[in-house]
Symmetry: C2
Subunit: 413 residues, 2 copies
Amino acid sequence: MERITATYYIETPFEVAKAAAVLAGEQSSGTFVAVPNETEELKQRFAARVESIEHLETVTEPAIPGANSKDGKYHRAIVKVSWSIENFGFNLPVMISTLQGNLYEITQFTGLKLMDIDLPESYGNHYSGAKFGIEGCRKLTNVYDRPLIGTIIKPSIGMSPEQTAEIVKTLAEAGIDFVKDDELMGSAANSSFENRLNAVMKVVNDCADKTGKKIMYAFNITGEVDEMQDRYEKIVNAGGTCAMISINSVGLSATKKICDNGALAIHAHRNGWGMMTRHPLLGIDFKAYQKIWRLAGVDQLHVNGIQNKFWETDDSVVNSIESLKTPFYQHKNILPVVSSGQWGGQAFETYRRTQTTDLLYMAGGGIMAHPMGAASGVTALQQAWKATVDGLTLEEARSQYVEFDKAAEKFGK
Amino acid sequence: MERITATYYIETPFEVAKAAAVLAGEQSSGTFVAVPNETEELKQRFAARVESIEHLETVTEPAIPGANSKDGKYHRAIVKVSWSIENFGFNLPVMISTLQGNLYEITQFTGLKLMDIDLPESYGNHYSGAKFGIEGCRKLTNVYDRPLIGTIIKPSIGMSPEQTAEIVKTLAEAGIDFVKDDELMGSAANSSFENRLNAVMKVVNDCADKTGKKIMYAFNITGEVDEMQDRYEKIVNAGGTCAMISINSVGLSATKKICDNGALAIHAHRNGWGMMTRHPLLGIDFKAYQKIWRLAGVDQLHVNGIQNKFWETDDSVVNSIESLKTPFYQHKNILPVVSSGQWGGQAFETYRRTQTTDLLYMAGGGIMAHPMGAASGVTALQQAWKATVDGLTLEEARSQYVEFDKAAEKFGK
């Protein structure tokens, strides 16, 4: 029978093997005393199994509150645990309750992070994954051999639909590939979803009629299920190609339902992610996280950016991009969304470390606040990526491209 | 205009007021440079506002990774920030993206926990809250003046529908009020949802015909949206009264959609909660969390239990129960689900500290592994609660009640 294997980074004041056994017990039989119906046969079939333990360092301070150590020592280890897929079949939320769930409550751990999930072959057939993915998003925007260049409407909140459409027009004329609502913008008092959709799509469609290029606008449909479904259909009817969902705020089941429609590329915004991963010994690593959302069927997923304005290290960002580059069954690969404090200068390090242009490269202020205007902001980003793929250094790119040089002057340190 | 105010417990190596301003800026205009369309008028209307700062202790080690301190000091504070409801209206997922979202990414914080949310009056009218709540669950089970006594089918996973039904029969005959699937049990290879529903409801309905008391069985419908909806309807058609959802695994939007049906009491299992709250300076406190789920409309919500087997302190459990006791608009109050390592002995301390019997008091092994059998396990719990409300001590209850005495002998320390 196929099994699902989870890899945990754990810390415990107890013997690691004993703590691992508690984990496996809690997540299969799940009670603190033996009960009459738990036969040996049932255990064999349904019990979680500790597959391996790799001991790491021992420390003297617990990472998070839990049981006290009698000898003042806390042992770290990588532990692999497996479950038969007979336990829950094809049910992602129950899988999450099994692989995460009450695990984070166990007092025997003073640290627990889900690092990776190995999923069986049958999952690749049951779930179809991204409907568009990288290839579909490239086709929709007609961009090949370089990253899709995108921006976020700023200020995040407050502009009228007409002002938003005006900016989209400027950006579209400047040759941008992708524009998105901010995650804070759903339907605001002065910019209802419908009005914004209509104003923006008029510009997008007009521009497409003129130039043959339809920019991808990710309308933020984050909301209740029926509301999201309704807005999704409105986007389809208006000729749009993309919807954005704040996946952690909406949750897995509703996001999957929207993805299942299959008519729009789904831009998955991971805001709230910091809560789940920022502590090194609590929560979930992106490597595991992205698999869940690829099964759900999103087409684009945020990974932060090199030299970002947030807490995340470049190594962590690179690892996230590598996770998304890894093939996943026969599914379409999905587009890493690079953003946060980007202005083009980071293109060089991003390309050096990931060797890919299969990215949606987003700049907010980096485009909108370009000293020569938003159109030059777009040009500067295209220049940065052309330069880096051509093997130029940042300084060489500055001397060759005036818009990029002006961006570097304003945004570079 | 009405505002929503969030209270954060934060830690920062910077001046607290400056870090708070970054928080407010990120969650309204949201970019790292001034952009052309951000007028003073827009800022006044849509900008987040720092309402108050209460300085707490300064420490020398950061709680979680973030910006380094130049003087080796990290300042803790309680910070209140408010937003106009014009920013997102009645949209809980966008509210979460605003109040949490990218906040956890901000490098200026080396700790950030959402402690509470103050919601405006209009939210109480827009959202109807629990359809059943405490009063509805009491009516459905015909239990007044004491906690509802409940148990979880154990082993969590592996029993056939017939075995499950057999146990439910024993428990129902013993006078139990509530039984639930484990959160690990959705639809397993040897116990499909439909077969389990049919087998269990036959017993529940038969027993109700005989005794006039229909026990509440919480079938775990956790899954995709359509699957949950389908199973929900099957429960209704079979005469059931309750459905269980692992709310963190399913997510907010799908859970709300199921709650909106209004025909079944919704048992909200919070597995995965530890990840969000276990670190003292990361995530969200139960006080804020329960408000979101009360708006979504759940009827019963887990709070762990006094002297539980998990990491959580008794103080934290008591605070959670107090949060749920707090009135919330004109909405029905919801039932705190007390569980984890409970056997009846904790009834005394639970009542002493919370002074309420408006609880769903759950024991798994504490009932199923009672030395005189499951029926005596139920009796022992009823005895424990009667004794504590009557003012008896645990020892006095032991000498008065034989089943409780046997429970104490086996499970008490």
